[in-house]
């Protein structure tokens, strides 16, 4: 795996820049895993709540957006690191 990565990095011509680009891409991908699962759980449970009690859909929707906002922050920090790491 590491050999493959360094080979890919050399293919771009500039080894250092290539490596940091690969690092940025991998970093963003890794940072997106957790929040992706988390947002899925939040939205899935909110939909369950809305389906069971349609009369409380308003509260569930507001809370769902709050939950999404808190979970999404982690993915966004990963995205910021991705931009910072770009060569």
């Amino acid at each position: 795996m590491l050999a493959l990565i360094s080979l890919l990095a050399q293919l771009t011509g500039d080894g250092e820049a290539g490596l940091s680009a690969i690092g940025a891409g991998l970093g963003y991908g890794l940072a997106a895993i957790g929040p992706g699962v988390g947002i899925g759980i939040v939205v899935g449970n909110a939909i369950t709540a809305m389906a069971r009690q349609p009369e409380s859909a308003g509260v569930a929707r507001t809370t769902m957006f709050l939950g999404i906002a808190f979970t999404e922050a982690l993915a966004l920090i990963g995205f910021v690191v991705f931009i910072l790491l770009l060569p």
């Binding site: 906002a69 922050a73 966004l76 995205f79």
Partner: protein, 254 residues
Amino acid sequence: MNVFALDFPPVSHLFVWPDFLFTDTPVALNKTGLIYIAAMLLTAGLFWAAGRRRALVPTGAQTVAEAGIEFVENSIIMQTIGPDGRRYLPFLTTLFFFVFFSNIFEVVPFIQFPANSRMAIPLALALVVWAIYHVVGIRAQGFYHYFKGALFPPGVPKALYVLVAPIELLQILLIRPLSLAIRLWANMVAGHLLLVTFAVLSAALWGTLYVPAVLPFAALILLTAFEIFVSALQAFIFTILTAVYIGGSLHPEH
């Protein structure tokens, strides 16, 4: 950088605009600043036009303003703070419309730049929110009780306070304003980058191969619609989180 061997402008070229007015002075103006002034004038103008001639049956700007105020009151304040949060209605409504207007320039033709993809104003807004929820908390509960309630939330085993108190302190002093600012800023950066990527792809393919250009162009149209949704959603989330923080300072946990 290149995407599929196409020339793609470096990230800094997409977000840094040269000053064109009052250059080399502290009040130098560039595109971002101009968009913020436009957003401010739009927000002020909307409510000025709505309040100028108040009609029982609203028309034009009054419809938009009344719908916005009702939305902020019913789905933000009543859901998070409660009836005593009505006094923050003017602030929260202004915040919502200002953030929305500065975001929506992302999809306005020929401007196409979300002003909030520069960190300055999101951070300034987050610092204003930071100051407001601390002042509200200290005024409502007193300095000692506000920080005691925030640092030592009830219902936590005594031994865990060693861990909880520093985390909560970091949370209310640093993490809340930073995450508020980064959430808005990074969403707008990501949206702008997406739109630019697909615009560059369609433009490059349009020059050489005409048929495959249909795909990125269709994606561009869909993403533009999605970004309108994201602009409104981010304004909503910024406002609702502000309301949640104010509500948390106003009503201590029991």
